[in-house]
Every structure is written in structure tokens, then in C-alpha cells.
Symmetry: C2
């Protein structure tokens, strides 16, 4: 409590409990601690994970749902999608603010447990031991009540300058798009790496190309910068590549399907071709 | 000519003719001019393209193969794969050094035209009006004779610090890998953009994720940082996503195939999963 010009102010720091000790919980927890929030406790089903993150954040930790402290303000769930119910069912959350961080779950999954529910979904790919720039990561928010949304917005803006309210339906679409442009993209990288290694070529050779390909769509629309044999309708090169991929039947099929889709989509749109791989 | 300690030195600047005025010719030409090489002439089948690049590089230009100057040292062909023969057939190249810049063509295609032949293949994606960091771009070289390789190496090292000699067979493999990790990746970006736009969501929301996904494999092996529902074997999310993609049958099929391939390849390799999208 402190006074300025005869008025009394209370500084109240939100008390947070993290449920989950995976990559999302780790990154959010660290960011909130750095921003001065009181991360009071970590719960994880796995004792080692609970201890690891609890010690990292200098807070209490437990692997027993019944030991989750009920005197915090906000409960942030970052669990596997199919583990939420297990934990939620175990406690009487009364009217606590319950948030989940999942791209694929509706807000509604929290409805049976509290009147104060919301979503704080950071649209990013997290790897535990790798720091990631959360400052510009989109945080996609949803809540039933405006007062709850205000608190969620405060929590998000302590981490990022890129905050947006969206519905569960929009979040589901974004999650599909994220899988396509992140997980499937990484699978492409990994498939390319595999055929290079089999031919004694170093994946390093592709890194500048991969970086430039991503860099290019930071300012351009990807549909305007598509390049390559399929984009040029170069059936000779496509056929040569399919022959080269004979040892990899799944990848060969994928190459054929994707080339076909690129050919068709650019035939339809009739966008001029000024590019070259 | 100049003398130091009584010895006579000649400064001889290699004279280069560019055949082609597309993205590769433009970027290489500019880099060589900046490095002090004498880019003497540009040929392009299209008069406007020849003029555009010729004026940009302050050199002669022509759209007539018979007007290509035969007093240069090096002829660098950056044409569409199926246009090489047209131009090569039109002149008597004698023993000039002929180089092509294609990832998909064998060195042999030049064999009938000169005894001095080679390849200088920059493994990068080029867009005409966008500058690209060529300084670390892999330049993949091949030649029949060591003396020619020396000249090609000199030309490449004027542009990049990342130079490697590889065979036509290895270059073909690298080209397939480049299509997969660049062209197919961009098609993923573009597919994601499409479904976002259809749902009034801005592609900007995906940009930090796309950047981080590429950034991550700059230091890591992609097979070790695969994330997402298929990686986790989360069939519920995969099924929800397939339902959401019902309006896009090709993309839906692609989602299913790719998820299946990811599931199978990680089941086989039994790599632990520590990641989350």
C-alpha cells in the first residue's frame, strides 16, 4: 500500500499457478516471472518435470492435483489436450479464472468448472531449451466476460506486443494453418535432410536457401513468390526428380502430389512467373 | 601492365558474357560487376529483358544469338533448361569456357560445344527485384579440367565464401532437396495463407511462427525438432483438422498424407517428443 496526493494505492500482483511443465508452461512462466508476476506454483503429473520447472522459477511445485494451491488468481493450463479433464475434474475451482493455452481446444472445455474462463494461445513453436522471441509472438485471446479478458490481456501484454481477440472457431483455423506452415514445413526440411545425408551431402548446404525462403514471406505474400519446376510447369525436371526419388516411394508420391497441386493452382490463378529456384 | 621489383605484372580482368537475363543472370551479373569483373554483354531472347539488364550493368546487350560477342573469356548460361540447345547450337564457341548455372542439368549438355565447360550453381532462391545475401550462398562447382575449375572458383569466390566442388549426380540430388525445402515449403505457406484469408485472418499472424521454424533448423537438425499433432500421435486433433479442411479437398488429402508420413517416420525412429507447436 502507498499514498500519492493523499490517495491510497494498493499494488496487487496477480498470483499465477501453472498446470503443466512442458514447453509452453516453461516459456510463459519464465516470461511472467521476468515481468514481475507471482508464479506461485507449478503442477505436473511427472514429479521430475514439476521439480525442474518449479526450481527454475523458484516456486512451489507438485505432481498431485489435490495439492494444487487454491489461493491463486489465475490458473494457466498447458497440458496435452487429452489430459485437461483429468486435472480439471480433481478440484473444486469455484470461481477462479481458468485459462488454457491450446490452439486446438474450444473455450467451452472449461465451462463446467468455473464461470471465469478464457484462452491465452501463443502462436509459436516452442522447444524447451531454446529461447524464442515472444515479444512479437501473436497471443490470441478469448474469454466469456470482459473483466476476465482484461486480466488475460494484461498477462499477455506483459510478454508480447502482438495481441488479438479471436473466437474458438478462428483459433481452430489458425491452428490448422500453423500445422501446415510450421510442422509440415519442418517435415519438408527433414525429408530434404534425409536424402542429402543418404548421398553424403551436408544439410548445411540447404540452410541459406531455407532461411531466404522464410525471410522472403516476411514481407511478401507467398502466393506471389512461388518458384520452382512445378511453378514453371517444367515437366522434364519434375520427371527427373521423380526418377531420383525412386528409393523413397512416400516422398516420391508426395513430390508428385505437391507438384500437381502447384501446377493446378498457378494455372488457375494465371500469375506471371518471374522467379527461379 | 605494371612493374614491382623489376618484374612485369599484367592485370587481366576476365571478360564475361551473360546468356540469359532472368533472376540468376541479374544477381550474378550485379555481383561480378561489383567485384570488378568485366561483364561485357548480355544476351536474352526477349529484347526488353536484354535491354533492361544490359542497362542495369552498363554493358552491351542483344537478343540475337548471332550477335553474341565471341571475344570474351567466359560464357555464363542462365537460361530455362529447355532453351540451352537453341542458343548453343547457333554459334561456334571454339574453345571458349562455357558455364551453366542450372541445378537440374548435367555438365555433359555443354560437351558438344567446347572442350572447356563447367557449372557454377548458386543454391538459392532468386526474385528479380529483391536483393539476396549471396555472400554465404553455396556455389556448387563442376568442370572437366582443373584449369577451368580454377577460373570458376575465382568467379564464385568473388561472390561467396561458401564454395564446393560437386558432381552432376550430387547436384541433381541437391536440386531435388532444394525443391522440397524451398518450393514445397513456400507452397505450404501459401496454402496456409489461403485458408486464413478465407476466414478473415491476416497472414501476419503466422509470420513469427514461420520465421522461428526456419530459424530453429539453422542450428538444429530438423528431424530433432519436429513438433505438432502428428509428431505427438494426437489423432483427435488430426481428425478435427481434417474436418475443418473439408472445403479444401486437395489440402485435406495433403494434410492426411503428411500426417501419416510424420506418424510413421517418428514411430520408426522412436525419437522422444519434447516439443509443442
Amino acid at each position: 500500500m502507498f499514498c500519492i496526493f493523499g490517495k491510497v494505492f494498493y499494488i496487487y500482483v496477480l498470483k499465477i499457478v501453472l498446470l503443466g511443465a512442458g514447453n509452453v508452461a516453461t516459456h510463459l512462466g519464465q516470461a511472467w516471472v521476468e515481468a514481475g508476476y507471482d508464479v506461485a506454483q507449478v503442477y505436473s503429473r511427472t514429479p521430475e518435470s514439476a521439480a525442474y520447472l518449479g526450481e527454475k522459477l523458484h516456486c512451489h511445485y507438485t505432481h498431485l492435483p489435490q495439492k494444487v494451491s487454491l489461493d491463486a488468481d489465475v490458473y494457466v493450463f498447458s497440458l496435452k489436450d487429452n489430459s485437461y479433464k483429468d486435472v480439471l475434474d480433481k478440484l473444486n475451482w469455484k470461481s477462479k479464472l481458468l485459462l488454457h493455452t491450446s490452439g486446438s481446444l474450444d473455450l467451452d472445455i472449461l465451462e463446467a468448472y468455473s464461470t471465469h474462463i478464457g484462452v491465452i494461445y501463443p502462436l509459436q513453436t516452442f522447444t524447451k531449451e531454446k529461447s524464442v522471441d515472444l515479444g512479437h509472438t501473436p497471443f490470441l485471446l478469448e474469454a466469456k466476460h470482459d473483466t476476465d479478458l482484461k486480466i488475460i490481456r494484461q498477462l499477455a501484454s506483459a510478454i508480447s506486443d502482438n495481441i488479438l481477440n479471436i473466437s474458438s472457431q478462428q483459433r481452430a483455423i489458425l491452428h490448422v494453418a500453423a500445422v501446415i506452415s510450421c510442422n509440415f514445413v519442418n517435415f519438408m526440411y527433414s525429408s530434404a535432410e534425409k536424402i542429402l545425408l543418404d548421398n553424403n551431402l551436408n544439410f548445411n548446404l540447404l540452410r541459406p536457401l531455407i532461411f531466404e525462403t522464410a525471410q522472403k514471406v516476411m514481407s511478401e505474400s507467398p502466393s506471389l513468390v512461388q518458384t520452382g519446376p512445378a511453378r514453371r510447369g517444367d515437366t522434364t525436371v519434375i520427371q527427373n526428380h521423380l526418377n531420383l526419388l525412386q528409393k523413397y516411394p512416400e516422398l516420391q508420391q508426395l513430390y508428385e502430389d505437391l507438384s500437381q497441386q502447384i501446377v493446378v493452382s498457378f494455372q488457375q490463378e494465371n500469375i506471371p512467373n518471374n522467379d527461379k529456384l
